[in-house]
């Protein structure tokens, strides 16, 4: 489809007063020969919008370039349907609100942004959604415990065919074997009957297809088209599914490692699960029982984390003892009782029933005549406490995710000599543990990457279901330590994400965080050199490889960050509306003043998720900074291709600054390691700069979070001052 471009310049909000609008129009009309270029006093008002709509209808305009406010505002006003390209040039927040009005440098900035916007739209096309062949809407849930059953029932109830795979002969998992369960509803004081039988019935009633004594042998494909090989006894079955919930649960921490608490030494020192079995079997006879909390958890020697569920599980088990024998003595030794939220009522109930809670560390357990004695350092009595005659000591031994059980995937030795010889810095990637849960046929390893302590959790507070393997959502105690109430919510939450992934994939749209994006990377394979950078650097494992090392993209696994595009030294990867030539041409279109004009130029590549809003905020707060900067937003700094820096420095820019998100342990990059990768790439460019005879300090990376807007002016002005000291880029006059 041929583009018919129209440019609309808004003169409202002071733009008309601060800038020479005629000169700006001339850039569009004369330099770029744009057929329609109009100005309006308030483009976002009804008349302004009508003006644009009329041109779309009667003049056949299909590419609308609006020079006015930031794209972060009036997004709903300037929507003209999916077939029309809308490009916004930010003259307000990033020009007139942060630069001197009626000033030569401000005018030059505005004119450059006009050029950049026009070049950008010239290089972009309306994306066509990627369609999966033999698309499946089915949901697969791996693990038939509390979380898995919940996920299966909830997705089936929402109208999706659901398949459940359970490795044991019976459904129910750890919870299934419980005598009773903690309260799941107000008043949160009473023991409840085990919910698993009802849940199993609900799964059957909802038509969930259940494979018992079965495991997942292989998972190939991508969202909408996962091919899963399920092994059941000696036979295997193939199922095609659209999305997967991983709910394989946790295992109790190995009690054999708790010899210091008498486990293995004294038969009546037992674990929570052994106690549960005893209660279920009706063999619970005791007049004095102690529960020892954090047996293994909150312990740097064992599990540094808190296992989250043990406090209320021990309270429950303490109540089993009281239920059977109200006169029994029950002690709970604890560090902190973590009966969060409404479980406080449950804790109160145990106290009312006479359960004694002792804050202190158990220092020794001994046995005499089959009765156990506990020595503890009682924090609230301030003394060493000694209690004896215990029938049982129950260790609340915490949980270890099934995803953490297995060997680490060794990094494959570098294939080509160059990579093997170099000690190039590499981005940090979480390990993949061969836990034998999904057995993914993925280039980046067979399971979800294991984050801290082996939990395949999300790193984000705001996005707990962000996943590094699109379409696969971990839920329940495999994802993070949690209690039953949370696990039930988590199963439903992950099911929601699985359902949503299926729907988005069917529409050809990306899932979080670029939800709804229909663009995807296309590879010009003729020029591929099999360097494998794209497959290695994709944070989501979206790209497989054939035996020759050619990339095999899986668009429905892709999150559209453009990391592959940034990584590719041959520049063969592009999106319909985001490409290396697009940004490169934006760089090249910026007017470069001659050296003697003494107008330095600084190029900024800014992450559109955090740095760009921060720059807008600087404008909204009318913070002023130098007008030598030219800002280009990137989807993620991971999409930064080094050729753009060559373009900039070869074209006479005095410096380049990358503004990306924080990396390291508490990284804030929404694509995991984009800013880190950009910095690593940057470290490799000094050679190029040397060749051009340029100082490496001219190209820098900095981290900016969305709240750093007060620091932005100083940041930019200091960089400008440093560059001034270095003197102008000698390439300037050759450009």
């Amino acid at each position: 489809m041929e583009k018919k471009i129209a440019v609309y310049i808004c003169t409202g909000c002071g733009i008309g007063d601060a800038l020479d609008i005629d000169a700006l129009s001339k850039v569009a009309k004369s330099e770029f020969k744009v057929p329609i270029c109009k100005t309006d006093g308030q483009l976002c008002g009804p008349e302004g919008v009508a003006l644009i709509k009329q041109d779309i209808e009667s003049e056949g305009v299909n590419t609308v370039v609006i020079a006015g406010c930031s794209a972060r505002v009036n997004f709903d006003v300037f929507k003209f349907g999916p077939d029309n390209i809308v490009e916004r040039i930010n003259l307000r927040e990033q020009v007139i609100w942060c630069h001197t009005a009626d000033d030569e440098d401000t005018q030059m900035l505005a004119e450059d942004y006009m050029r950049m916007g026009l070049v950008k739209q010239k290089n972009m096309y309306v994306p066509e959604p990627y369609q999966v062949e033999s698309f499946s809407r089915n949901i697969l849930v791996v693990g038939g415990g509390l979380t898995g059953l919940t996920a299966a029932v909830e997705s089936a109830k929402a109208g999706y065919s659901t398949i459940l795979v359970e490795k044991d002969a019976e459904l129910g998992g750890y919870v299934g074997k419980m005598y009773k369960q903690v309260p799941m509803k107000p008043p949160y004081t009473d023991l409840e009957e085990n919910c698993i039988p009802n849940l199993v019935k609900a799964a059957e009633d909802a038509g969930v297809k259940i494979y018992k004594s079965a495991t997942v042998e292989n998972t190939a494909g991508a969202p909408g088209m996962f091919d899963v090989t399920i092994k059941q006894g000696d036979s295997t079955v193939q199922e095609r599914v659209g999305a997967i919930v991983l709910a394989t649960g946790a295992k109790p921490y190995e009690a054999d490692k708790l010899g210091h608490l008498g486990f293995g030494k004294f038969p009546n020192v037992i674990t929570q699960s052994m106690f549960e079995e005893m209660a279920t079997a009706g063999k619970l006879e005791a007049s004095k029982v102690a529960f020892i909390q954090c047996a293994g958890s909150r312990d740097q020697e064992h599990l540094p984390y808190c296992s989250a569920a043990c406090c209320i599980e021990s309270i429950k088990q303490a109540l089993y003892v009281k239920e059977k024998n109200a006169e029994a003595n029950v002690y709970v030794y604890y560090k902190d009782i973590r009966s969060n939220g409404q479980y406080e009522h449950f804790y109160m109930k145990a106290q009312q029933e006479g359960v004694v809670f002792v804050k202190g560390d158990v220092t020794e357990i001994t046995e005499e005549d089959g009765k156990l004695t506990i020595e503890a350092d009682d924090k609230t009595m301030g003394t060493t406490s000694l209690a004896d005659e215990f029938d049982y000591v129950v260790l609340a031994n915490g949980m270890v995710p099934t995803a953490a059980l297995g060997d680490l995937v060794e990094e494959e030795p570098a294939a080509d000599e160059a990579a093997a010889a170099s000690d190039e810095p590499k981005a940090s990637t979480p390990p993949v543990i061969k836990a034998n849960l999904l057995n993914l046929a993925y280039r980046q390893g067979p399971e979800l990457p294991a984050l801290k302590y082996g939990f395949p959790d999300s790193h984000y507070i705001c996005f707990p279901y962000e996943t590094r393997r699109t379409g696969i959502y971990a839920a329940g105690v495999v994802r993070a330590p949690m209690d039953m109430l949370s696990a039930v919510e988590d199963g439903a939450g992950a099911a929601m994400k699985a359902v949503q992934c299926v729907e988005a994939t069917e529409m050809g749209q990306a899932v979080h965080p670029r939800s709804g994006d229909m663009s995807f990377p296309e590879f010009n394979m003729n020029r591929c050199t099999q360097c494998k950078r794209c497959t290695e650097e994709c944070p989501f494992g979206a790209i497989n490889e054939d035996e020759k090392g050619n990339p095999l993209p899986n668009p429905s696994r892709c999150r559209r960050c453009g990391t592959c595009m940034g990584a590719c030294p041959e520049r063969i990867i592009s999106f319909k509306n985001y490409s290396v030539p697009m940004v490169g041409n934006m760089v090249k279109t910026i007017e470069m003043p001659e050296e003697d004009e003494e107008k330095p130029r600084i190029l900024i590549f800014a992450c559109e998720n955090d740095a760009i809003p921060a720059l807008d905020m600087a404008g909204i707060n009318r913070l002023q900074y130098n007008a030598w900067v030219r800002i280009i937003p990137l989807r993620c700094l991971g999409s930064l291709n080094l050729v753009w820096i060559n373009d900039a420095m070869g074209g006479g820019f005095d410096g380049v600054l990358l503004m990306g998100c924080k990396h390291g342990d508490d990284y804030q990059c929404h694509f995991m390691k984009g800013s880190e990768l950009a910095e690593i790439r940057l470290s490799k460019i000094s050679e190029t700069l040397d060749r051009l005879g340029l100082e490496s300090e001219r190209v820098r990376a900095t981290t900016v979070n969305i709240m750093d807007y007060d620091k932005i002016p100083a940041m930019l002005d200091e960089f400008a001052a440093d560059l001034e000291e270095l003197g102008p880029n000698p390439m300037k006059d050759f450009a």
Partner: protein
């Protein structure tokens, strides 16, 4: 045929999440938010524990998702007046309160310069003043101004803002209006209010200037807060040499909220990091019953203990006294480990007030059940009204998001099942 659309009441982190998750799965979704902006309580938080990252970062992604999703419509300054019908087919009456600024507003800010009236800034819990016409906060989404009209009337201002507005965006006579929606399911996610510290008379809140609440401290630590991010004593603006955090101020308490509010321990540990960053030598004490840093939050607890040099005192503070000559506060507590009643003096005391569900003061206009603290009982009451987030349990942000995601699926089920 059931209506496939969903109304989400409450545009905080839970409501936004529920709305987006459902909309991105193909549902038509409406959000009704009572504030003039989306984002709810998290917009007032300086940093999230345990990453110490800014909430606006995640909100920005969520707002992008809303901007790009044609299936979401939202209404600000909106309240639900009435619900009738049943699962699959609810008729809901919304009352849209006047903003006094119409859609012509470009956000240029000229009106603020002209406005002569100052009001307490609700975003900063009244700790500073703003103009009667204002942007609710820097990141306000949508970026539209709003007028506190009572204040204008009281000051007798006839509309200086309207005189300078070039876009005819100001309508001093704007009236509230009602609108009707027909939806298949409702997600109720109206969140929480900080427990009213005025009810804790023994801690002197409201009487002693240097007793503040945890939510106030959050604003004091924020770069865009009332003190530009500097934590100082409200009485005299002086720097702080000692600070006490009083945990369970109104939570785990028979006379107040019976439940534990779940987040306050971690919030106070986080606040300790704010204080430590600004005051390397300040004495930081936390009076607590149990430190509830569940799951992997334990790492944060460990880190704060190692890095922030915090003194943990097991014992609930009983009373706070003020030295009127210098504004110093004395915290009287039973230190259970030292087995004695201690009296220690501090420059500033922060009450870790908990979460009162919004439904404790504003019930859902439908047949629903509540527990003794006012939290909604899930699964009881009207089918098709799903509760999400802190109206159901006191939750941290990640858990609220999880809960809201689950609620979105339950709402979709209602649209599938309902008649």
């Amino acid at each position: 045929m059931a209506n496939k659309s969903i109304l989400v009441v409450g545009g905080g982190i839970s409501g936004i999440t529920a709305a987006l998750e459902a909309a991105e799965a193909g549902c038509e979704v409406y959000i009704a938010e009572k504030n003039p902006y989306l984002g709810g309580r998290v917009t007032q938080i300086n940093q999230y524990f345990p990453k110490l990252c800014p909430p606006n970062c995640g909100l920005e992604i969520n707002f992008q998702r809303i901007r790009n999703n044609p299936r979401i419509n939202f209404f600000t300054l909106a309240e639900v007046e009435n619900i009738s019908g049943q699962e699959g087919n609810f008729d809901v009456t919304l009352k849209i309160n006047p903003r006094y600024v119409n859609d012509n507003c470009t956000g240029c800010g000229k009106c603020v310069e002209a406005c002569p009236v100052e009001v307490d800034n609700p975003f900063n819990y009244g700790m500073n003043k703003i103009k009667a016409i204002h942007l609710p906060h820097d990141f306000a989404f949508p970026m539209k101004y709003v007028i506190k009209a009572d204040a204008c009337k009281e000051a007798g201002c006839a509309g200086k803002c309207a005189e300078v507005c070039e876009y005819k965006a100001i309508e001093p006579d704007m009236q509230s209006k009602t609108m009707n929606l027909n939806v298949g399911a409702i997600v109720w996610a109206t969140g929480w209010n900080p427990y009213d510290a005025n009810k804790l008379s023994y801690y002197g809140f409201g009487r002693f200037k240097n007793v503040v609440t945890n939510v106030m401290l959050e604003r004091m630590a924020a770069m865009n807060g009332p003190t530009g991010g500097k934590i100082v004593r409200p009485s005299d603006g002086k720097e702080i040499k000692s600070i006490a955090f009083v945990q369970c101020a109104g939570s785990r308490d028979e006379n107040h909220l019976k439940a534990c509010s779940s987040v306050c321990c971690l919030a106070s540990l986080k606040h300790a990091t704010y204080v430590r960053e600004q005051y390397p030598d300040a004495e930081i004490s936390i009076y607590y019953i149990d430190i509830r840093a569940r799951g992997k939050y334990e790492d944060f607890f460990t880190k704060v203990q190692e890095e922030a040099n915090v003194t943990l005192i097991k014992g609930k503070a009983g009373e706070i006294e003020e030295d009127q000559t210098n504004g110093q506060l004395v915290v009287i507590a039973e230190d259970q480990e030292a087995k004695q009643v201690t009296r220690k003096s501090y420059d500033l005391v922060v009450l870790a007030t908990g979460m009162a569900p919004s439904t404790a003061t504003a019930a859902i206009p439908a047949d629903m059940a509540y527990d003794e603290d006012g939290f909604v009982v899930p699964g009881a009451g009207t089918a098709g009204i799903v509760v999400a987030g802190c109206v159901k349990n006191p939750l941290d942000v990640a858990s609220a998001v999880r809960d809201a995601t689950a609620a979105a699926l339950k709402a979709i089920q209602s649209t599938v099942r309902g008649q």
